[in-house]
């Protein structure tokens, strides 16, 4: 099996599991308990928090563990909106659904939301943000790197504009974290969401960074966990695993970026050489090192995924059919793709365990599958006739 869907989730690293195991077995104490096993668990959480804070350039009391990246997004957006003086919020058209649907829910509660457009490469314009900010703007949330097309936004510039207008700035860095340098002070962000399972950690744990002084309502009411701001008995093993995965990703960041970029660029080059009527979606270089998103004309993405799966290749698509709606990906539509082109997209997201040999296999199988589906497609008939 060739797994190239690391933007969806990543395999749990063996070293990470090893670090987690004691907290799933012998060290099962509740971190809120004062006896030995509880204290050990509490210490483990404190160490994990310190590790993550160190990597992010944050203070320990600014890092809050959550149940997922989506939860971190929900907390940041709903929490900041609740405390905001105005009822106007700003986000982008290409956010993850964890952000977009959270804003949708706020609209129903009477907030007004501006969705910043993106250009054909998928980039948000800082000028657009500048123009969109109003005296009653209570929050700006723009993702660091896109999950579908991998495009990396100019977060420093965007956050600076927000800061100049004294509007809190949140970024969903779930895809960015572990794949590029992420530092809350370098970026100048007030809130930042991250997730463990995208970087070789376990599922079911994320974190929200909240800069000291940022007004955000508490999220889950109950016990005193997470400095009294997000109650719930901690997912000790998950938190320990998250921190260790983050540590490994941070230590190997440069070499990982180099390797992933090499795989990505080789794949992009080979696809362009091998398969006609394709287009790369998203900026060619301002993108995550492991992300390549292509649209193949005249075919549909779910069929493509199913056929790749039959060949043992696991990837993702922006087609409607994989999401259960008839509309294709909002991200691909936002960069200006026609519906029928957006339906035929394929996202490959590489991980460090992938190899150049695997890329060769993927491109070979992909070329055959695309041709097979085109031969079956009434949209391709006219093109095929022209070629004859």
């Amino acid at each position: 099996m060739i797994y190239v869907d690391h933007a969806a989730t990543t395999p749990l690293k063996k070293e990470v599991l090893d670090k987690m195991m004691p907290y799933l077995t012998s060290e099962f104490g509740n971190p809120s308990s004062i006896y030995t096993s509880g204290r050990k668990a509490k210490i483990a959480i404190n160490e994990a928090r310190a590790t993550l804070a160190g990597i992010l350039g944050a203070k320990e009391n600014e890092v809050f563990f959550t149940g997922s990246g989506s939860e971190a997004d929900n907390w940041a957006i709903k929490g900041a909106a609740k405390m905001a003086k105005g009822k106007h919020l700003i986000t982008s058209a290409i956010e993850h659904h964890a952000v977009l649907h959270t804003f949708d829910s706020l609209r129903k509660e009477g907030y007004e939301v501006t969705y910043l457009p993106v250009d054909a490469d998928g980039l948000v314009s800082p000028q657009d943000l500048e123009k969109a900010i109003r005296p009653d703007t209570g929050l700006v949330s723009i993702m660091a790197a896109n999950n579908e097309i991998g495009v990396i936004q100019p977060i420093c510039e965007l956050a600076l504009i927000s800061k100049e207008h004294k509007v809190p700035f949140h970024t969903d860095a779930v895809q960015a974290f572990g794949n590029m340098p992420v530092n809350v002070d370098d970026w100048g962000v007030d809130m930042l969401s991250i997730s463990a399972h995208k970087i070789g950690g376990p599922k079911g744990v994320g974190a929200l960074y909240i800069r000291r002084g940022t007004r955000v309502a508490n999220f889950i009411h109950g016990g005193a966990q997470e400095f009294g701001r997000r109650a719930s008995t901690e997912n000790v093993a998950g938190i320990v695993g998250f921190a260790h995965a983050a540590k490994l990703a941070d230590e190997h960041l440069d070499e990982n970026i180099q390797k992933l970029t090499q795989l990505r660029d080789y794949y992009i080059k080979k696809v362009k050489e091998t398969i006609p009527y394709c287009r790369l979606n998203g900026h060619p270089t301002k993108r995550l090192p492991g992300n390549a998103n292509f649209s193949f004309e005249f075919i549909e993405g779910e069929s493509l995924l199913l056929m790749l799966d039959m060949k043992g290749i696991e990837a993702s698509s922006g087609s409607a059919c994989t999401s259960g709606s008839l509309d294709p990906s909002h991200v691909l539509l936002a960069i200006g793709l026609a519906h029928e082109i957006a339906h035929g997209s394929l996202r490959i997201s590489f991980g460090v365990e992938n190899t150049i040999e695997q890329v060769d296999i993927i491109v070979r199988e992909l070329a055959q599958i695309v041709q097979r589906l085109r031969d079956m497609s009434p949209l391709y008939e006219k093109v095929a006739r022209k070629q004859v």
Partner: protein, 144 residues
């Protein structure tokens, strides 16, 4: 979302796929915008569907329903073919996920559109025989 084995079988080995050179009826339904187009070719003699082919742009369910629809009407009379409903296609495929049921509707419409084309070529108004044939008017697309 899980596909039945039958759906996967018809998706991975679609029956009657391709074009039919001596077709005397061709129908096309669906819309590229929605991500589904089915084109059906029939050779009809003495009111019997002697041969049939299809081409489909669409998801796994769209390919499988097209394939099954061609199997259900091949060798049948026009009257029998017109009685094939989307429900019959779904049943023959041992079920479809609810979000994919529209694909089976498209398959039923493809049969009707192709037969309508046959009548048109004979100079016969198909409406009283085939009924209304949709050209994606029934499509549940949300595009604006």
């Amino acid at each position: 979302m899980l596909y039945s084995e039958k759906v996967m079988d018809h998706f991975s080995n679609p029956r009657n796929v391709g074009e039919l050179e001596d077709a005397n009826a061709v129908g096309e339904v669906g819309n590229a915008k929605c991500g589904d187009i089915m084109k059906m070719y029939m050779k009809i003699e003495d009111d019997i569907i002697k041969d049939i082919r299809f081409k489909t742009f669409g998801c796994g369910a769209a390919v499988a329903t097209s394939s099954m629809a061609t199997e259900l009407v091949k060798g049948k009379t026009i009257q029998e073919a017109l009685k094939v409903t989307n429900k019959a296609v779904v049943e023959a495929l041992e079920g479809l996920p609810s979000v994919k049921v529209h694909c089976s509707v498209l398959a039923e419409e493809a049969i009707k559109a192709t037969i309508a084309d046959y009548y048109k070529r004979q100079g016969i108004d198909p409406a009283p025989i085939v009924g209304h044939t949709a050209d994606c008017d029934n499509c549940q697309c949300h595009h604006g």
